[in-house]
């Protein structure tokens, strides 16, 4: 399997593929192997060193893990597709380009219907391009963060970040880790951390699980999801982890690193209730408030978006995973956060559609069922407006540019900013390295608006020499 970024792209990569898949997580991997099985010539590009994406992130072979599946749920779904990927690569049906971060996709000039994908390849950031007739964007998601005083202290890490570091590097951020935020990922993270030897004093969930009760039909049609929840719940019980619902970490304490957190009870709107604060000692906090679809490649192409029930923005997709731009499909979390099983299903649906084959009814039914569950889940964990009540004036909201809540409120209340973009221009919040990925949802909430779709012309840092080497735009 071609995995070394230093290998020059094979002739197949330079050739015009039937399909270019961006992302080798559950959706992209399932799509690539399904499409290759249906006879398409596929190029699969992935920013990571190994296939699997964030969900199936696993240790490098050098780490010699005998049981990588111990850190995963549904590992066989990955193992079978990875084996299929290897077989298709050997047979020349898939060109797999690991460590290729696609930073933009451009339409070919009129008359040659296809797309050019521009990537930064390997640690040396070499330029790479791939051309294809169709494109599937399976770019996944990153974690949503809502700031609180002390959240920039070392030892406060993303919940998904802690999970990623554990799955890939077999490391823990501390020995006593409070898991906090909102969403089902927290249960999985707490279970993994505890199984790997950390003490987890509490899982602090801001939502109330009773929020799911309004969606009983969606729950009853997804016994697998309920069983998954029971598995995580059972693991927490075994490890003696307390689950505090309708609670939040409202402050992290420490000087050079976190030493304790304040946990408070919330009202229905996520407003901390006076007199309920208590301290929990810990040496790390794993925090996250659900996931945000990663859409910059799609929005750069003009793909239509829609608001999700969890207050994020997702792509508008039809029943066959087509975006609003002809020739561009998308699958997985980009269409709304729904988990790995849904991503696998949607990847396979997209592959059938791109190959011009009818979508098997079984896949369509599974998608409908899992999307209903995802909507119930998203609604239950949507952040309440009261969370901004735990911010202090000096709490940094933008981690990169170190912009505190007080300056953002000043931009909104005194200077008339009505959206995150205006706040950015006035305060630099969102103007740093991460380009608003960490502070965007929080800044939008402080500005009193719903988050806008990702608009970043470059999806990762690109050396200027690559931009300079691009062909000139044809005159309009």
């Amino acid at each position: 399997m071609t995995t070394s970024p230093s290998d020059s792209p094979s002739a197949a990569a330079r050739a015009f593929a039937d399909l270019a898949v961006v992302g080798a997580g559950p959706a992209g991997l399932a799509a690539a192997v399904t499409a290759a099985g249906l006879g398409l010539r596929v190029t699969l590009l992935d920013a990571g060193e190994r296939p699997g994406g964030q969900y199936f992130r696993h240790p490098a072979p050098g780490l010699g893990a005998a049981r990588p599946e111990a850190l995963h749920h549904g590992w066989s779904a990955f193992a079978s597709r990875e084996a299929a990927l290897r077989a298709h690569v050997s047979a020349g049906r898939i060109t797999y380009l690991a460590y290729h971060h696609v930073w933009t996709v451009t339409p070919d000039p009129a008359g040659s219907p296809g797309w050019t994908l521009h990537a930064v390849a390997g640690p040396d950031e070499a330029p790479a391009t791939v051309r294809a007739r169709t494109v599937l964007l399976a770019t996944g998601a990153y974690e949503r963060q809502l700031p609180f005083p002390g959240w920039t202290l070392p030892g406060v890490v993303g919940a998904g970040g802690a999970q990623a570091m554990l799955k890939a590097g077999l490391v823990l951020p501390g020995s006593r880790v409070v898991v906090a935020g909102s969403g089902p990922l927290l249960l999985a993270v707490a279970g993994s951390l505890a199984a790997a030897g950390a003490r987890v004093p509490a899982v602090v969930e801001a939502a109330a699980y009773t929020g799911y009760a309004a969606h009983t039909p969606a729950l009853l049609r997804n016994p697998g999801k309920l069983a998954e929840g029971a598995t995580y719940g059972g693991a927490l019980l075994r490890h003696g982890v307390r689950l505090l619902t309708r609670h939040a970490v409202t402050e992290a304490h420490g000087t050079d690193r976190v030493e304790a957190v304040t946990v408070a009870r919330l009202d229905r709107d996520w407003r901390p209730l006076p007199g309920t604060a208590r301290r929990i000692p810990c040496d790390a906090v794993a925090v996250g408030h659900g996931l945000v679809p990663q859409l910059e490649l799609a929005t750069g192409l003009g793909c239509a978006t829609r608001p999700s029930p969890d207050a994020t923005v997702a792509l508008e997709l039809d029943a066959e995973q087509r975006t609003s731009v002809p020739g561009i499909w998308s699958a997985g979390e980009t269409g709304g956060i729904g988990g790995a099983q849904l991503a696998l299903t949607e990847g396979e649906i997209a592959a059938h559609s791109i190959a011009g084959r009818p979508v098997p009814a079984r896949l369509a039914r599974t998608r409908t069922r899992l999307r209903a569950f995802a909507a119930a889940m998203a609604g239950a964990h949507r952040p309440g407006p009261g969370w901004t009540g735990w911010l202090r004036e000096d709490t940094d909201v933008c981690r990169c540019e170190e912009v505190p809540a007080g300056r953002i409120r000043e931009a909104v209340e005194d200077l008339g900013a009505r959206d995150a973009r205006t706040v950015k221009l006035l305060t630099r919040a969102g103007m740093g390295w991460c380009q608003g990925r960490m502070c965007g949802p929080a800044v939008a909430a402080l500005a009193g608006t719903d988050p806008a779709p990702d608009r970043r012309p470059l999806s990762c840092p690109v050396p200027l020499r690559h931009l300079a080497a691009l062909p000139a735009e044809p005159p309009h």
Binding site: A47, E49, Q54, P59, A60, P61, G62, L63, G64, A65, A66, R67, P68, A70, L71, P123, Y142, E143, T152, P154, G155, V156, V157, G158, G160, G161, A162, Q163, A164, M165, L166, A168, G169, L170, V171, L172, P173, G174, S175, R176, A195, A196, G197, R199, D256, R257, A284, R399, C400, E401, E402, G432, W433, C434, R437, M438, C460
Partner: protein
């Protein structure tokens, strides 16, 4: 938790079993840290209990890995003299010298 207690706790390695193909020392500032082949630089630092390896431009606040997947850029570090590398993405390699990064990591360009 005392060292003795920690010794009895389960570890990520216990959970997944096996042994690393190779181990070596990573030089971090003036320290030598144990590294296993396949770990990112951030993972080597976390293994040694180090959670911060840069300071911010404005307030010189300590920062380390946060998102763990290359999105947040909080874990920027200088590797073999090259600043602003994401420690959570860059694999640790034998002979690497990792240094704490201050501010932009471009002090050499200061006027």
């Amino acid at each position: 938790m005392s060292e003795a207690t920690r010794g009895r706790r389960r570890s990520p390695r216990d959970l997944v079993g096996g042994t690393p193909a190779e181990t070596w020392s990573l030089r971090f500032d003036d320290r030598e840290l144990p590294a296993q082949s396949g770990q990112s630089i951030a993972a080597v630092l976390w293994s040694a209990g180090i959670l911060a390896w840069r300071t911010t431009r404005e307030t010189a606040a300590p920062r380390g890995a946060f998102c763990g997947i290359g999105s947040c850029f909080d874990c920027l570090v200088t590797v073999n003299g090259r600043p602003n590398q994401r420690a959570c993405l860059v694999p640790a390699r034998p002979g690497d010298h990792v240094t704490t990064q201050e501010g932009t990591g471009r002090d050499d360009l200061a006027v």
